[in-house]
Each structure stands twice: as structure tokens, then as C-alpha cells.
């Protein structure tokens, strides 16, 4: 059972109040009509599945019903940080931060 900090309610709540909504920071193409089938298909269906740090979108479904981002280790399930929509994660994988 994860104990998750909601940045809107400003307190920890049990996992059963939340739903995970998949990979965070997916930018919808500004002009879908201009996308190739490959670009649009990748936007719609292709997601990362990392072993290690993952940035995810969560929603406090039974609480304030607001969305926020979570950086979570997919090996240990440990939540490294919680941050608001529009913010950038401060905990990022070494291979990403080295770029």
C-alpha cells in the first residue's frame, strides 16, 4: 500500500484514494492534422516502460479530484517526489540528466 502525498490537499493519503493515469508530460501535437500516422500513433499508443525512475500522472480520485505528477521507481515502487502539473521533475534518471 502506497502512502501518497497530494500536493493539493497537502497531506498524505492512502493509495486507494488515487488512480494512476499513465506516463506524465505527454504533449498533444498542436496540429494533429499535420502529423504523420507514425507521429500520431506514437502520441496515442506508445509509452515508456522503464525499469527504474518513471514520471507518472496521478489523480486524487476520491479526494480533491485534482491531477499531479509523481516520480516513482518502478523497481522499488518508492515515490521519489510529487510535483504539480506544469512543473518539471527534479529527480530524473542519470541517463536523462547526463544529456
Amino acid at each position: 500500500m502506497l502512502h501518497i502525498y497530494c500536493p493539493h490537499c497537502c497531506e498524505y493519503r492512502e493509495e486507494e484514494e488515487f488512480h494512476v493515469k499513465g506516463q506524465a508530460h505527454l504533449a498533444r501535437p498542436l496540429d494533429p492534422e499535420a502529423c504523420s500516422d507514425k507521429e500520431w500513433g506514437e502520441y496515442l499508443y506508445f509509452r515508456k516502460n522503464p525499469r527504474g525512475l518513471h514520471h507518472e500522472l496521478w489523480v486524487h480520485a476520491a479526494g480533491c479530484r485534482k491531477f499531479f505528477n509523481v516520480t516513482r521507481d518502478t523497481v522499488s515502487y518508492e515515490i521519489k517526489e510529487v510535483y504539480l502539473i506544469g512543473e518539471k521533475p527534479s529527480v530524473v534518471a542519470a541517463s536523462v540528466s547526463a544529456k
Binding site: 493539493h8 497537502c10 497531506e11 492512502e14 484514494e17 479526494g63
Partner: protein
């Protein structure tokens, strides 16, 4: 304001004079009879506060104009601190989300309140009358926390859940907005469609402590 006038509002309070009978979500349970025949002492007390006016207000908490207008209408400032509530006269305002509040007033005041909101506020906000879809359960007694612990994962200890705090959470595989109104007194705001199920749940969860129904 022209955009104000374009919003259609109607008095949703059933007109008794016209022969329209209002029934709270637990009307069928006949709590008056249960209260009369049932336990007089027990660890958990239950009362339905039905047929209140429930208004959901949504607006930007950083919009001083809207926040100020809401305060003028309500006679009390909107609680901006997460999970807090304010009470003034018969009006209770609960923080639900950073841009959402749930207001309850005696039902005969809800139309007037809605009308004054429409007159005072303009621009980007939302006000929805959900009175028909919600009801309030008042639960109290020396074992009320024990009963609630069976029903919700929220930390109910005094240090974490002081009087006046309000949380939206899971409750008995359903949902509820829980507000502490006293050391051993809570208010559960539940949906009409779950009202009967939660009433049955509370009876079952309270059985070991003794349930006193009040009406």
C-alpha cells in the same frame, strides 16, 4: 450583467403548498419510528440531516474579485486553506479542492443564496445546486471513531483530524465528505444513490457498540 441573466435558475425546493412532498434519501427507512422503538443508549448515535440546500461553487482562488463577491454573498470568507471549513449561522462552507467549495444552507435559503450568487458574481465561475443528490449523516458518540475506522482509511486521530477539518475520501467502498464537528461528532456528506447502502453499513459497523438512532 447580461451573462448572469442568461443562467436559468429555478427554485428546487419542493412546494409543500402545491402538494409536492419532499422526501429525504432515508425517507423510506422511517427513522422516526426506528428512533422511537430502538436503543436509547449506545456508543454510536446517528441522525440524518436531510433536505438541506447543497451548492457547489467553483472558481479561481486567485481571482480576488470572485473570492470577494463570494464572501459578500455568504457573509463569510471562503476557506482557502486545504481541508478546512467555516461555519456562520446555518451556512457551512467546506474546502473540497483548491478551486471548489461545498456550501450547505437550510433548504429554504438555497434559492435566495443561488440568486444572490448570480447577481454578485460574473465571469468564469460555476455554481451548481446539488441539493437533490446529497444528504448529511450526523454520527456521534464515544465509539464513533471506532465505527469510522472500519469504514475509511483516513487518519481520524485528534492531532491529524481536528474539529473543522473536512476530507473527501473513500468510505465503505463508496465515498463521503467527512467533517469533524466535535470531539466525538462527525458529519458525513453522502450521495443519495449510496444513502441506503451507507445507512445499512453504519448499522452493521455500529452494532457492536450499540446504535442510537435520532430523528
Amino acid at each position: 450583467m447580461s451573462d448572469t441573466n442568461s443562467v436559468a435558475i429555478m427554485n428546487q425546493v419542493p412546494d409543500a403548498a402545491a402538494g409536492v412532498r419532499a422526501e429525504s434519501p432515508l425517507h423510506h427507512a422511517d427513522l422516526a419510528t426506528v428512533a422511537h422503538k430502538g436503543n436509547k443508549i449506545g456508543g454510536v448515535h446517528f441522525r440524518e440531516v436531510g433536505l438541506m440546500g447543497h451548492l457547489t461553487l467553483r472558481c479561481d482562488p486567485n481571482n480576488a474579485e470572485l473570492i470577494g463577491a463570494a464572501a459578500r454573498v455568504l457573509g463569510v470568507e471562503l476557506p482557502l486553506t486545504p481541508l478546512s471549513s467555516v461555519e456562520s449561522g446555518g451556512t457551512i462552507v467546506r474546502w473540497i479542492a483548491p478551486d471548489e467549495w461545498l456550501i450547505t444552507v437550510p433548504n429554504d435559503q438555497s434559492f435566495d443564496l443561488e440568486t444572490r450568487f448570480r447577481a454578485e458574481m460574473s465571469g468564469h465561475y460555476s455554481l451548481v445546486n446539488g441539493s437533490g443528490g446529497l444528504t448529511i449523516y450526523q454520527v456521534s458518540g464515544e465509539n464513533v471513531v471506532d465505527m469510522l475506522k472500519k469504514s475509511t482509511p483516513v487518519d481520524l486521530h485528534d492531532s491529524e483530524f481536528p474539529v473543522g477539518k473536512v476530507v473527501s475520501t473513500v468510505f465503505a467502498k463508496s465515498g463521503a465528505v467527512i467533517r469533524r464537528t466535535g470531539a466525538n461528532e462527525f458529519e458525513l456528506l453522502v450521495r443519495r444513490s449510496f444513502a441506503d447502502y451507507l445507512w445499512l453499513w453504519i448499522q452493521s459497523a455500529s452494532a457492536e457498540f450499540g446504535l442510537v438512532v435520532e430523528a
